[in-house]
Symmetry: C2
Subunit: 269 residues, 2 copies
Protein backbone atom coordinates (compact mmCIF):
# COMPACT_ATOMS: atom_id res chain seq x y z
CA UNK A 1 0.00 0.00 0.00
CA UNK A 2 1.20 3.46 -0.86
CA UNK A 3 -0.49 6.78 -0.02
CA UNK A 4 1.69 8.96 -2.27
CA UNK A 5 -0.14 10.88 -4.99
CA UNK A 6 -0.24 10.15 -8.72
CA UNK A 7 1.06 12.96 -10.93
CA UNK A 8 -0.69 14.00 -14.15
CA UNK A 9 0.71 16.47 -16.70
CA UNK A 10 -0.79 18.08 -19.79
CA UNK A 11 -0.37 21.13 -21.98
CA UNK A 12 -3.66 22.46 -20.56
CA UNK A 13 -7.08 21.29 -19.41
CA UNK A 14 -7.18 18.24 -21.72
CA UNK A 15 -5.55 16.02 -19.12
CA UNK A 16 -8.60 16.62 -16.93
CA UNK A 17 -10.42 14.06 -19.07
CA UNK A 18 -7.97 11.54 -17.63
CA UNK A 19 -8.34 12.91 -14.12
CA UNK A 20 -12.13 12.67 -14.38
CA UNK A 21 -11.87 8.94 -15.04
CA UNK A 22 -9.30 8.57 -12.24
CA UNK A 23 -11.68 10.21 -9.74
CA UNK A 24 -14.33 7.68 -10.79
CA UNK A 25 -12.28 4.47 -11.05
CA UNK A 26 -9.66 5.23 -8.40
CA UNK A 27 -11.54 7.41 -5.88
CA UNK A 28 -8.95 6.76 -3.20
CA UNK A 29 -5.90 7.94 -5.16
CA UNK A 30 -4.68 11.51 -4.63
CA UNK A 31 -4.21 13.50 -7.86
CA UNK A 32 -1.58 16.19 -8.47
CA UNK A 33 -2.30 17.80 -11.83
CA UNK A 34 -0.29 20.31 -13.79
CA UNK A 35 -1.41 22.00 -17.02
CA UNK A 36 1.09 24.10 -18.96
CA UNK A 37 -1.50 26.53 -20.30
CA UNK A 38 1.02 29.36 -20.69
CA UNK A 39 2.69 27.45 -23.52
CA UNK A 40 -0.15 25.60 -25.23
CA UNK A 41 -0.89 24.32 -27.76
CA UNK A 42 1.92 21.75 -27.80
CA UNK A 43 0.77 20.25 -31.10
CA UNK A 44 2.67 22.55 -33.49
CA UNK A 45 5.89 22.68 -31.38
CA UNK A 46 9.08 20.72 -32.20
CA UNK A 47 9.41 17.44 -30.30
CA UNK A 48 12.59 18.38 -28.43
CA UNK A 49 10.91 21.49 -27.05
CA UNK A 50 7.87 19.51 -25.88
CA UNK A 51 10.26 17.02 -24.27
CA UNK A 52 11.93 19.86 -22.35
CA UNK A 53 8.54 21.11 -21.10
CA UNK A 54 7.57 17.56 -20.07
CA UNK A 55 10.74 17.29 -17.99
CA UNK A 56 9.95 20.60 -16.23
CA UNK A 57 6.52 19.26 -15.28
CA UNK A 58 7.96 15.89 -14.26
CA UNK A 59 10.45 17.63 -11.96
CA UNK A 60 7.61 19.58 -10.36
CA UNK A 61 5.57 16.40 -9.85
CA UNK A 62 8.60 14.59 -8.39
CA UNK A 63 8.96 17.44 -5.88
CA UNK A 64 5.44 16.47 -4.76
CA UNK A 65 6.63 12.89 -4.15
CA UNK A 66 4.36 11.22 -6.71
CA UNK A 67 4.51 7.43 -6.97
CA UNK A 68 3.65 7.37 -10.68
CA UNK A 69 3.57 9.91 -13.51
CA UNK A 70 0.91 10.00 -16.21
CA UNK A 71 1.69 12.01 -19.33
CA UNK A 72 -1.95 12.90 -19.94
CA UNK A 73 -1.13 14.49 -23.30
CA UNK A 74 -0.66 12.64 -26.56
CA UNK A 75 1.80 15.16 -28.03
CA UNK A 76 4.02 14.99 -24.94
CA UNK A 77 3.69 11.18 -24.83
CA UNK A 78 4.97 10.94 -28.41
CA UNK A 79 7.82 13.34 -27.65
CA UNK A 80 8.90 12.40 -24.13
CA UNK A 81 7.56 9.07 -22.83
CA UNK A 82 10.56 6.92 -23.78
CA UNK A 83 12.97 9.44 -22.30
CA UNK A 84 11.10 9.82 -19.00
CA UNK A 85 10.55 6.06 -18.70
CA UNK A 86 14.21 5.28 -19.19
CA UNK A 87 15.46 7.89 -16.71
CA UNK A 88 12.94 7.73 -13.85
CA UNK A 89 12.60 4.87 -11.40
CA UNK A 90 8.85 5.27 -10.86
CA UNK A 91 6.35 4.04 -13.47
CA UNK A 92 5.67 6.58 -16.23
CA UNK A 93 2.57 6.06 -18.34
CA UNK A 94 1.60 7.65 -21.63
CA UNK A 95 -1.76 7.85 -23.37
CA UNK A 96 -0.87 6.39 -26.78
CA UNK A 97 -0.45 2.70 -25.93
CA UNK A 98 -3.71 2.58 -23.92
CA UNK A 99 -5.61 4.25 -26.77
CA UNK A 100 -4.06 1.86 -29.29
CA UNK A 101 -4.93 -1.21 -27.23
CA UNK A 102 -8.51 -0.03 -26.78
CA UNK A 103 -8.87 0.57 -30.52
CA UNK A 104 -7.66 -2.94 -31.37
CA UNK A 105 -10.07 -4.34 -28.77
CA UNK A 106 -13.01 -2.34 -30.14
CA UNK A 107 -12.66 -2.65 -33.90
CA UNK A 108 -14.45 -5.37 -35.81
CA UNK A 109 -13.26 -4.56 -39.33
CA UNK A 110 -9.75 -3.34 -38.41
CA UNK A 111 -10.33 0.04 -40.08
CA UNK A 112 -9.26 2.53 -37.38
CA UNK A 113 -9.29 6.33 -37.57
CA UNK A 114 -7.00 8.43 -35.37
CA UNK A 115 -7.43 12.17 -34.84
CA UNK A 116 -4.71 14.03 -32.98
CA UNK A 117 -2.54 17.14 -32.98
CA UNK A 118 -0.01 17.78 -35.73
CA UNK A 119 2.84 16.75 -33.40
CA UNK A 120 1.24 13.41 -32.58
CA UNK A 121 0.30 12.65 -36.19
CA UNK A 122 3.79 13.61 -37.39
CA UNK A 123 5.35 11.25 -34.85
CA UNK A 124 3.33 8.38 -36.37
CA UNK A 125 3.15 6.98 -32.83
CA UNK A 126 -0.45 5.69 -33.04
CA UNK A 127 0.01 4.03 -36.40
CA UNK A 128 3.16 2.30 -35.20
CA UNK A 129 1.67 1.33 -31.85
CA UNK A 130 -1.47 -0.19 -33.43
CA UNK A 131 0.23 -1.93 -36.35
CA UNK A 132 2.97 -3.21 -34.06
CA UNK A 133 0.33 -5.26 -32.26
CA UNK A 134 -2.04 -6.03 -35.07
CA UNK A 135 -0.48 -6.21 -38.55
CA UNK A 136 -3.93 -6.50 -40.17
CA UNK A 137 -5.13 -3.16 -38.79
CA UNK A 138 -5.39 -0.22 -41.16
CA UNK A 139 -4.91 3.19 -39.54
CA UNK A 140 -6.23 6.41 -41.10
CA UNK A 141 -4.63 9.35 -39.30
CA UNK A 142 -5.87 12.92 -39.41
CA UNK A 143 -4.48 16.06 -37.76
CA UNK A 144 -7.13 18.19 -36.05
CA UNK A 145 -5.15 21.25 -34.98
CA UNK A 146 -8.18 23.46 -34.43
CA UNK A 147 -9.72 21.32 -31.68
CA UNK A 148 -7.39 22.22 -28.76
CA UNK A 149 -7.92 26.00 -29.06
CA UNK A 150 -11.70 25.42 -29.18
CA UNK A 151 -11.54 23.58 -25.87
CA UNK A 152 -9.08 25.88 -24.14
CA UNK A 153 -11.13 28.95 -25.07
CA UNK A 154 -14.16 27.29 -23.45
CA UNK A 155 -15.94 27.19 -26.83
CA UNK A 156 -16.35 23.41 -26.90
CA UNK A 157 -20.14 23.53 -26.85
CA UNK A 158 -20.48 26.40 -29.34
CA UNK A 159 -21.95 26.41 -32.88
CA UNK A 160 -18.48 27.22 -34.22
CA UNK A 161 -17.23 23.99 -32.62
CA UNK A 162 -19.84 22.03 -34.58
CA UNK A 163 -18.75 23.65 -37.82
CA UNK A 164 -15.02 23.10 -37.20
CA UNK A 165 -15.49 19.46 -36.20
CA UNK A 166 -17.66 18.69 -39.24
CA UNK A 167 -15.15 20.27 -41.61
CA UNK A 168 -12.14 18.61 -40.00
CA UNK A 169 -13.62 15.11 -40.03
CA UNK A 170 -14.93 15.30 -43.61
CA UNK A 171 -12.09 13.07 -44.97
CA UNK A 172 -13.57 10.13 -43.01
CA UNK A 173 -16.86 10.37 -44.86
CA UNK A 174 -16.05 7.87 -47.57
CA UNK A 175 -14.08 5.47 -45.41
CA UNK A 176 -15.18 2.34 -43.53
CA UNK A 177 -13.69 3.17 -40.12
CA UNK A 178 -15.71 1.56 -37.32
CA UNK A 179 -13.47 2.97 -34.56
CA UNK A 180 -12.09 6.48 -34.05
CA UNK A 181 -9.36 7.21 -31.52
CA UNK A 182 -9.59 10.65 -29.93
CA UNK A 183 -5.81 10.86 -29.79
CA UNK A 184 -5.63 14.08 -27.80
CA UNK A 185 -6.88 14.38 -24.24
CA UNK A 186 -8.66 17.63 -25.08
CA UNK A 187 -10.98 15.98 -27.61
CA UNK A 188 -13.36 14.16 -25.25
CA UNK A 189 -14.80 17.57 -24.31
CA UNK A 190 -15.96 17.68 -27.94
CA UNK A 191 -17.22 14.08 -27.81
CA UNK A 192 -20.96 14.73 -28.35
CA UNK A 193 -20.18 16.82 -31.43
CA UNK A 194 -17.64 14.33 -32.79
CA UNK A 195 -20.05 11.43 -32.29
CA UNK A 196 -22.78 13.35 -34.06
CA UNK A 197 -20.54 14.01 -37.06
CA UNK A 198 -19.18 10.45 -37.49
CA UNK A 199 -22.51 8.80 -36.68
CA UNK A 200 -23.58 6.34 -33.99
CA UNK A 201 -21.95 3.29 -35.59
CA UNK A 202 -18.39 4.56 -35.08
CA UNK A 203 -17.00 3.66 -31.68
CA UNK A 204 -15.09 6.56 -30.11
CA UNK A 205 -11.99 5.72 -28.07
CA UNK A 206 -11.09 8.11 -25.26
CA UNK A 207 -7.34 7.54 -24.99
CA UNK A 208 -7.20 9.36 -21.67
CA UNK A 209 -9.97 7.35 -20.03
CA UNK A 210 -8.35 4.15 -21.27
CA UNK A 211 -5.12 5.29 -19.68
CA UNK A 212 -6.72 5.07 -16.24
CA UNK A 213 -7.12 1.32 -16.88
CA UNK A 214 -3.38 1.17 -17.33
CA UNK A 215 -2.79 3.24 -14.19
CA UNK A 216 -5.08 0.89 -12.26
CA UNK A 217 -3.38 -2.19 -13.76
CA UNK A 218 0.10 -1.01 -12.80
CA UNK A 219 -1.03 0.07 -9.31
CA UNK A 220 -2.18 -3.53 -8.83
CA UNK A 221 0.82 -5.11 -10.49
CA UNK A 222 3.36 -3.13 -8.45
CA UNK A 223 1.21 -3.13 -5.28
CA UNK A 224 1.13 0.67 -5.25
CA UNK A 225 -2.58 1.28 -4.59
CA UNK A 226 -3.82 3.23 -1.58
CA UNK A 227 -6.32 1.32 0.53
CA UNK A 228 -6.34 3.63 3.52
CA UNK A 229 -9.89 4.96 3.43
CA UNK A 230 -9.65 6.96 6.68
CA UNK A 231 -9.56 10.32 4.90
CA UNK A 232 -10.59 11.52 1.44
CA UNK A 233 -7.65 12.40 -0.81
CA UNK A 234 -6.97 16.13 -1.25
CA UNK A 235 -6.33 16.69 -4.93
CA UNK A 236 -4.17 19.58 -6.15
CA UNK A 237 -4.35 21.41 -9.47
CA UNK A 238 -1.69 23.69 -10.94
CA UNK A 239 -1.55 25.73 -14.14
CA UNK A 240 1.16 27.89 -15.65
CA UNK A 241 -1.65 30.08 -17.03
CA UNK A 242 -4.66 31.77 -15.50
CA UNK A 243 -6.04 29.88 -12.51
CA UNK A 244 -9.48 31.50 -12.99
CA UNK A 245 -9.80 30.33 -16.58
CA UNK A 246 -8.62 26.87 -15.56
CA UNK A 247 -11.16 26.71 -12.73
CA UNK A 248 -14.06 27.58 -15.03
CA UNK A 249 -13.47 24.58 -17.28
CA UNK A 250 -12.25 22.22 -14.54
CA UNK A 251 -15.30 22.85 -12.32
CA UNK A 252 -17.66 22.20 -15.22
CA UNK A 253 -15.84 19.12 -16.50
CA UNK A 254 -15.02 17.45 -13.16
CA UNK A 255 -18.21 18.61 -11.42
CA UNK A 256 -16.08 19.80 -8.51
CA UNK A 257 -17.65 23.13 -7.66
CA UNK A 258 -15.07 24.19 -5.10
CA UNK A 259 -11.98 23.30 -7.13
CA UNK A 260 -9.31 26.00 -6.92
CA UNK A 261 -6.21 25.71 -9.04
CA UNK A 262 -2.89 27.33 -8.14
CA UNK A 263 -0.86 29.38 -10.57
CA UNK A 264 2.65 28.01 -10.98
CA UNK A 265 5.67 29.50 -12.73
CA UNK A 266 7.91 27.17 -14.69
CA UNK A 267 11.16 28.60 -16.03
CA UNK A 268 10.46 30.02 -19.46
CA UNK A 269 6.68 29.56 -19.24
CA UNK B 1 10.87 -7.36 -28.94
CA UNK B 2 10.49 -10.92 -27.74
CA UNK B 3 9.26 -13.91 -29.75
CA UNK B 4 8.86 -16.28 -26.80
CA UNK B 5 5.35 -17.64 -26.23
CA UNK B 6 2.86 -16.63 -23.53
CA UNK B 7 1.74 -19.46 -21.24
CA UNK B 8 -1.89 -19.92 -20.19
CA UNK B 9 -3.12 -22.41 -17.58
CA UNK B 10 -6.59 -23.50 -16.50
CA UNK B 11 -8.35 -26.41 -14.86
CA UNK B 12 -9.93 -27.21 -18.23
CA UNK B 13 -11.33 -25.52 -21.32
CA UNK B 14 -12.42 -22.34 -19.50
CA UNK B 15 -9.09 -20.66 -20.09
CA UNK B 16 -9.85 -20.85 -23.82
CA UNK B 17 -12.14 -17.84 -23.32
CA UNK B 18 -8.96 -15.93 -22.49
CA UNK B 19 -7.05 -17.47 -25.39
CA UNK B 20 -9.86 -16.51 -27.79
CA UNK B 21 -9.45 -12.86 -26.85
CA UNK B 22 -5.65 -13.16 -27.09
CA UNK B 23 -5.90 -14.52 -30.65
CA UNK B 24 -8.03 -11.50 -31.52
CA UNK B 25 -6.19 -8.70 -29.68
CA UNK B 26 -2.65 -10.10 -29.86
CA UNK B 27 -2.65 -12.07 -33.13
CA UNK B 28 1.13 -12.10 -33.25
CA UNK B 29 1.73 -13.67 -29.84
CA UNK B 30 2.28 -17.43 -29.64
CA UNK B 31 0.05 -19.24 -27.14
CA UNK B 32 0.99 -22.31 -25.09
CA UNK B 33 -2.13 -23.52 -23.26
CA UNK B 34 -2.52 -26.22 -20.65
CA UNK B 35 -5.84 -27.42 -19.22
CA UNK B 36 -5.79 -29.79 -16.25
CA UNK B 37 -8.97 -31.61 -17.24
CA UNK B 38 -7.98 -34.82 -15.44
CA UNK B 39 -8.41 -33.05 -12.09
CA UNK B 40 -11.23 -30.59 -12.68
CA UNK B 41 -13.27 -29.02 -11.26
CA UNK B 42 -10.85 -27.02 -9.11
CA UNK B 43 -13.66 -25.10 -7.41
CA UNK B 44 -14.37 -27.51 -4.54
CA UNK B 45 -10.69 -28.37 -3.87
CA UNK B 46 -8.65 -26.99 -0.95
CA UNK B 47 -6.52 -23.95 -1.85
CA UNK B 48 -3.18 -25.61 -1.09
CA UNK B 49 -3.97 -28.45 -3.48
CA UNK B 50 -4.94 -26.03 -6.25
CA UNK B 51 -1.69 -24.14 -5.60
CA UNK B 52 0.28 -27.36 -6.06
CA UNK B 53 -1.48 -28.07 -9.37
CA UNK B 54 -0.80 -24.49 -10.53
CA UNK B 55 2.91 -24.95 -9.83
CA UNK B 56 2.96 -28.16 -11.89
CA UNK B 57 1.43 -26.31 -14.83
CA UNK B 58 3.76 -23.34 -14.32
CA UNK B 59 6.78 -25.66 -14.41
CA UNK B 60 5.53 -27.18 -17.67
CA UNK B 61 5.02 -23.72 -19.19
CA UNK B 62 8.48 -22.61 -18.04
CA UNK B 63 9.95 -25.66 -19.82
CA UNK B 64 8.40 -24.14 -22.97
CA UNK B 65 10.34 -20.89 -22.33
CA UNK B 66 7.28 -18.67 -21.91
CA UNK B 67 7.88 -14.95 -21.33
CA UNK B 68 4.75 -14.47 -19.24
CA UNK B 69 2.28 -16.73 -17.43
CA UNK B 70 -1.47 -16.14 -17.31
CA UNK B 71 -3.42 -18.02 -14.67
CA UNK B 72 -6.57 -18.20 -16.79
CA UNK B 73 -8.58 -19.67 -13.92
CA UNK B 74 -10.15 -17.69 -11.10
CA UNK B 75 -9.90 -20.50 -8.54
CA UNK B 76 -6.18 -20.96 -9.24
CA UNK B 77 -5.64 -17.19 -9.24
CA UNK B 78 -7.16 -16.92 -5.78
CA UNK B 79 -5.07 -19.85 -4.55
CA UNK B 80 -1.72 -19.39 -6.28
CA UNK B 81 -1.16 -15.97 -7.89
CA UNK B 82 0.70 -14.33 -4.99
CA UNK B 83 2.95 -17.36 -4.59
CA UNK B 84 3.84 -17.62 -8.28
CA UNK B 85 4.33 -13.85 -8.61
CA UNK B 86 6.71 -13.72 -5.68
CA UNK B 87 8.82 -16.68 -6.82
CA UNK B 88 9.04 -16.28 -10.61
CA UNK B 89 11.02 -13.60 -12.39
CA UNK B 90 8.68 -13.34 -15.38
CA UNK B 91 5.34 -11.49 -15.11
CA UNK B 92 2.50 -13.66 -13.77
CA UNK B 93 -1.03 -12.42 -14.34
CA UNK B 94 -4.28 -13.58 -12.74
CA UNK B 95 -7.87 -13.01 -13.81
CA UNK B 96 -9.31 -11.51 -10.62
CA UNK B 97 -7.77 -8.02 -10.68
CA UNK B 98 -8.66 -7.46 -14.37
CA UNK B 99 -12.26 -8.56 -13.71
CA UNK B 100 -12.46 -6.30 -10.67
CA UNK B 101 -11.10 -3.28 -12.52
CA UNK B 102 -13.52 -3.83 -15.39
CA UNK B 103 -16.46 -4.08 -12.97
CA UNK B 104 -15.54 -0.78 -11.28
CA UNK B 105 -15.21 0.83 -14.70
CA UNK B 106 -18.58 -0.49 -15.88
CA UNK B 107 -20.86 0.02 -12.88
CA UNK B 108 -22.93 3.16 -12.53
CA UNK B 109 -24.67 2.39 -9.23
CA UNK B 110 -21.78 0.50 -7.58
CA UNK B 111 -23.94 -2.61 -7.03
CA UNK B 112 -21.80 -5.42 -8.43
CA UNK B 113 -22.64 -9.13 -8.59
CA UNK B 114 -19.90 -11.76 -8.76
CA UNK B 115 -20.51 -15.40 -9.71
CA UNK B 116 -17.66 -17.85 -9.33
CA UNK B 117 -16.70 -21.30 -8.08
CA UNK B 118 -16.92 -22.18 -4.39
CA UNK B 119 -13.14 -21.86 -4.05
CA UNK B 120 -13.09 -18.35 -5.50
CA UNK B 121 -16.10 -17.18 -3.48
CA UNK B 122 -14.66 -18.67 -0.27
CA UNK B 123 -11.37 -16.82 -0.86
CA UNK B 124 -13.30 -13.52 -0.94
CA UNK B 125 -10.75 -12.38 -3.53
CA UNK B 126 -13.19 -10.44 -5.75
CA UNK B 127 -14.87 -8.64 -2.88
CA UNK B 128 -11.52 -7.62 -1.46
CA UNK B 129 -10.10 -6.64 -4.83
CA UNK B 130 -13.10 -4.46 -5.73
CA UNK B 131 -13.60 -2.85 -2.32
CA UNK B 132 -9.86 -2.26 -2.01
CA UNK B 133 -10.11 0.10 -4.98
CA UNK B 134 -13.58 1.50 -4.49
CA UNK B 135 -14.83 1.65 -0.91
CA UNK B 136 -18.32 2.67 -2.10
CA UNK B 137 -18.82 -0.49 -4.14
CA UNK B 138 -21.17 -3.16 -2.82
CA UNK B 139 -20.34 -6.71 -3.92
CA UNK B 140 -22.93 -9.51 -3.94
CA UNK B 141 -21.10 -12.82 -4.36
CA UNK B 142 -22.68 -16.09 -5.39
CA UNK B 143 -21.16 -19.54 -5.87
CA UNK B 144 -22.23 -21.26 -9.09
CA UNK B 145 -20.64 -24.72 -8.72
CA UNK B 146 -22.80 -26.37 -11.38
CA UNK B 147 -21.61 -24.18 -14.27
CA UNK B 148 -18.14 -25.71 -14.84
CA UNK B 149 -19.40 -29.30 -15.27
CA UNK B 150 -22.03 -28.03 -17.74
CA UNK B 151 -19.32 -26.49 -19.88
CA UNK B 152 -16.80 -29.32 -19.62
CA UNK B 153 -19.45 -31.89 -20.59
CA UNK B 154 -20.16 -29.83 -23.72
CA UNK B 155 -23.72 -29.16 -22.48
CA UNK B 156 -23.37 -25.37 -22.42
CA UNK B 157 -26.03 -24.81 -25.08
CA UNK B 158 -28.50 -27.39 -23.74
CA UNK B 159 -31.97 -26.87 -22.18
CA UNK B 160 -30.60 -28.19 -18.89
CA UNK B 161 -28.04 -25.37 -18.94
CA UNK B 162 -30.85 -22.83 -19.18
CA UNK B 163 -32.60 -24.37 -16.20
CA UNK B 164 -29.46 -24.57 -14.05
CA UNK B 165 -28.44 -20.98 -14.82
CA UNK B 166 -31.93 -19.62 -14.07
CA UNK B 167 -32.06 -21.44 -10.74
CA UNK B 168 -28.54 -20.49 -9.71
CA UNK B 169 -28.97 -16.79 -10.45
CA UNK B 170 -32.38 -16.47 -8.77
CA UNK B 171 -30.91 -14.69 -5.68
CA UNK B 172 -30.08 -11.69 -7.88
CA UNK B 173 -33.71 -11.19 -8.83
CA UNK B 174 -34.54 -8.70 -6.12
CA UNK B 175 -31.23 -6.85 -6.15
CA UNK B 176 -30.14 -3.72 -8.02
CA UNK B 177 -26.92 -5.05 -9.53
CA UNK B 178 -26.12 -3.31 -12.82
CA UNK B 179 -22.90 -5.29 -13.39
CA UNK B 180 -22.22 -9.03 -13.07
CA UNK B 181 -18.70 -10.42 -13.08
CA UNK B 182 -18.38 -13.87 -14.65
CA UNK B 183 -15.66 -14.77 -12.15
CA UNK B 184 -14.77 -18.11 -13.72
CA UNK B 185 -13.25 -18.43 -17.18
CA UNK B 186 -15.68 -21.24 -18.04
CA UNK B 187 -18.74 -19.02 -17.67
CA UNK B 188 -18.46 -16.96 -20.88
CA UNK B 189 -19.44 -20.09 -22.81
CA UNK B 190 -22.77 -19.74 -20.98
CA UNK B 191 -22.92 -16.01 -21.68
CA UNK B 192 -26.04 -15.92 -23.90
CA UNK B 193 -27.99 -17.89 -21.29
CA UNK B 194 -26.68 -15.81 -18.37
CA UNK B 195 -27.51 -12.55 -20.18
CA UNK B 196 -30.99 -13.83 -20.92
CA UNK B 197 -31.60 -14.66 -17.24
CA UNK B 198 -30.28 -11.39 -15.75
CA UNK B 199 -31.77 -9.23 -18.49
CA UNK B 200 -30.23 -6.82 -20.98
CA UNK B 201 -29.63 -4.01 -18.47
CA UNK B 202 -27.01 -5.92 -16.50
CA UNK B 203 -23.53 -5.54 -17.94
CA UNK B 204 -21.64 -8.84 -17.97
CA UNK B 205 -17.90 -8.74 -17.27
CA UNK B 206 -15.78 -11.46 -18.85
CA UNK B 207 -12.84 -11.59 -16.44
CA UNK B 208 -10.80 -13.63 -18.88
CA UNK B 209 -11.25 -11.29 -21.82
CA UNK B 210 -10.39 -8.36 -19.56
CA UNK B 211 -7.22 -10.17 -18.58
CA UNK B 212 -5.95 -9.92 -22.15
CA UNK B 213 -5.99 -6.13 -21.69
CA UNK B 214 -3.63 -6.62 -18.79
CA UNK B 215 -1.43 -8.99 -20.80
CA UNK B 216 -1.30 -6.41 -23.60
CA UNK B 217 -0.56 -3.59 -21.12
CA UNK B 218 2.33 -5.46 -19.52
CA UNK B 219 3.74 -6.56 -22.89
CA UNK B 220 3.91 -2.85 -23.77
CA UNK B 221 5.18 -1.74 -20.38
CA UNK B 222 8.00 -4.28 -20.28
CA UNK B 223 8.66 -4.12 -24.04
CA UNK B 224 7.95 -7.84 -24.41
CA UNK B 225 5.66 -7.81 -27.46
CA UNK B 226 6.51 -9.70 -30.65
CA UNK B 227 6.54 -7.53 -33.73
CA UNK B 228 8.16 -9.99 -36.11
CA UNK B 229 5.36 -10.65 -38.58
CA UNK B 230 7.40 -12.88 -40.91
CA UNK B 231 5.63 -16.07 -39.81
CA UNK B 232 2.31 -16.81 -38.09
CA UNK B 233 2.67 -18.05 -34.50
CA UNK B 234 2.16 -21.80 -34.01
CA UNK B 235 -0.02 -22.20 -30.94
CA UNK B 236 0.15 -25.34 -28.78
CA UNK B 237 -2.60 -26.85 -26.64
CA UNK B 238 -2.16 -29.47 -23.93
CA UNK B 239 -4.62 -31.27 -21.67
CA UNK B 240 -4.16 -33.76 -18.88
CA UNK B 241 -7.47 -35.31 -19.98
CA UNK B 242 -8.85 -36.53 -23.28
CA UNK B 243 -7.42 -34.64 -26.24
CA UNK B 244 -10.45 -35.58 -28.39
CA UNK B 245 -12.94 -34.10 -25.93
CA UNK B 246 -10.78 -30.99 -25.59
CA UNK B 247 -10.60 -30.57 -29.37
CA UNK B 248 -14.38 -30.74 -29.77
CA UNK B 249 -14.95 -27.73 -27.50
CA UNK B 250 -11.78 -25.86 -28.48
CA UNK B 251 -12.52 -26.06 -32.21
CA UNK B 252 -16.05 -24.79 -31.70
CA UNK B 253 -15.08 -22.01 -29.29
CA UNK B 254 -11.92 -20.77 -31.01
CA UNK B 255 -13.17 -21.45 -34.55
CA UNK B 256 -9.90 -23.22 -35.28
CA UNK B 257 -11.01 -26.28 -37.23
CA UNK B 258 -7.63 -27.94 -37.38
CA UNK B 259 -6.68 -27.49 -33.74
CA UNK B 260 -5.18 -30.65 -32.26
CA UNK B 261 -4.38 -30.78 -28.56
CA UNK B 262 -1.72 -33.03 -27.06
CA UNK B 263 -2.35 -35.21 -24.05
CA UNK B 264 0.08 -34.49 -21.23
CA UNK B 265 0.73 -36.38 -18.02
CA UNK B 266 1.37 -34.36 -14.89
CA UNK B 267 2.48 -36.27 -11.78
CA UNK B 268 -0.61 -37.26 -9.88
CA UNK B 269 -3.04 -36.16 -12.61
Amino acid sequence: MNQQPIGYMDSGVGGLTVVKESLRQLPNEQVIFIGDQARLPYGPRPADQVRKFAWQMADFLLSKHVKMIVIACNTATAAALDDLQSKLDIPVIGVISPGSRAAIKATKNEEIGVIATEGTIKSDAYKRSIEHKDPHAHVLSLAAPKFVPLVESNAYKSPIAKKVVAETLRPYRHTDIDTLVMGCTHYPLLRPIIQNVVGPKVKLIDSGAETVNTVSTLLDYFHLGNSDFSHAPQHEFYTTGSAEMFDTIARDWLQLRHLQAHHLDLEGA
